[in-house]
Amino acid sequence: MQPLHLLDSQVRSLRQQVQSTETQLRNLKIQLQQAEQQCEAARQLEEAWAGGFPHEWINETLAALSPEAHQAVGQESQPQSTHGRWPLESEEYKRYGRQMILPEVGLHGQLRLKKARVLIVGAGGLGCPAAAYLAGAGVGTLGLVDGDTVEISNLHRQVAHGTDRVGMSKVDSAVEYLTSLNPRVNYQRHPYHLTPQTAISLFEQYDLVLDCTDHPTSRYLISDTCVLTSKPLVSASALKTEGQLIVLNNPPLPPGSSNGGPCYRCVFPRPPPADSVLSCGEGGILGPVVGLMGVLQALEAIKLLTAQPSPSSTLEPPKPTLLIFSAYSTPPFRSVRLRTRRADCAACSSVASITSQSLTSGSLDYVAFCGGTSPLDLLPPHARVSAAEFARQPRDGTNTLIDVRDETQYSMCALRGSVNVPWTGDAESWAQAAALREEISAAGKACYVVCRMGNDSQLAARALMERGLGADGGVRHIEGGFRAWREEVDPGWPEY
């Protein structure tokens, strides 16, 4: 018979062993349950992907599926993952299912979209459709940059804005629309114009940038900043009935890496002359043309974001192309094969002169590079009249009004008795056309030249004066064109 105290100690020891084994058993059961869940998920993924998916995609998704599984072993009562068995919430499967069942997207692609941060610069004709499709697709974070407010002339193409939001900031208006489209996205508002000083710190917060702006200065600034921050850039533009689309700086390797994708300067090293750059307000734009280009930007962004990450050194870099869309051409689409990076590019080559320092210090002047425009002031005072002054001229055939707007605008609205000689962009050819008109070449008549805004009319008036046309009656241009006519003389004149 053992002494009582020894038996007591044996009971205590056995109790401890039972307790510890029970804890171990509980842990093992938890691990078993987790392993079973993972196994079931893997089985379902294998089944779903039996159609020939690369095996490494399965591994990547599995890793995303069970982030807790790796650390659970040996820990007591690990809480269930916050999202349960599946990496996405049930509503997300419903919302994104129609794109997820495409082999090009799949679960892995959807997870990459959810993780992605995309910056859209410009919330206009390109930015609205691009943002809508990216929000709809479930991009995790969408940043919008625009300093403008919604105007009624935007609405035929800028589909995220509405009549009741005229006057509102474009960023706020777009976020209102996008939130109703997909409230799950994290929207970041940047309601100001991009500047060289702030661009780098802004771009650094994102993975991918879309250039949806409307001017050469911002196009060069965005491209340079993408090179400096190593972000791929999806750039599009549109005017009248044509559009362009390029994926730039893809792959986004540091300046000097010849395998990196070309930047905007590699394709267009010299900006167009400032006085030839037309805005959509000046040149016109067909809504679906710019809409199409914005939708294509969203598509290229989705392709880039859902692509399987690969060791870039082993793969040949993607072939850069410039897509040109011309709505009234046959065929309407042309894809141009571009070169790689330019050996002497100012931004992305090994001899690049553009640095983060030159951007943030403001020493790089994009307005000067693109040639700033100042109001045209070509004519001496005696060759200018105000719209109000012109309205007081007699209408007795002693003078001729030359309207230099194009035929389309002239047929929208014109002053009775005026002569339409559309400005050709070139003084010589325009003067030749003008000389053929009897009303202009006839002796003794005063000539008044008018256009939409008061710029082309100065060029045309100068072309007449330099060639001695209308010399005896005098040549004058109407300051401010029909815009001034509307403000000073006829409020009923159409504002377009």
């Binding site: 410009g122 206009g124 004709g125 390109l126 949806c212 702006t213 409307d214 001017h215 050469p216 196009r219 599009a236 533009s237 549109a238 005017l239 009248k240 044509e242 559009g243 362009q244 394709v267 267009f268 010299r270 900006p271 167009p272 002359p273 030839s276 750059v277 037309l278 805005s279 959509c280 040149g283 734009i285 710019v290 280009m293 410039l322 040109i324 011309s326 009234y328 051409s329 046959t330 065929p331 042309r334 894809s335 141009v336 094969r337 571009l338 070169r339 330019r342 050709t424 962009g425 070139d426 010589e428 050819s429």
Partner: protein, 97 residues
Amino acid sequence: MCAQKPPAGHFTILYFASASSYTRKQHDFFSGPLPISKLPDLLEERYSGIKEKVLGSCALTVNLDYVDMEEEAAKAEQCLVVQEGDEVAIIPPVSSG
């Protein structure tokens, strides 16, 4: 724009965006073969002012391949020759949106 083929001994030149506005045309047929470095002067003859106002900032392609005009000009006699039946495109940067 230009579904039709150029006549024998000619190549097609397509004008996009501001190049189309400036020439008021969507295409022309020029007689070839023609060394590409001679094209700007030929266009200038026909469309006075086009070199300065349009071509300086344009991308130019031959049969959908980007051509660097400075590089070609530097090659002088050795530059690319546009052949009969080729398609040249003048592509100005469009910046609006």
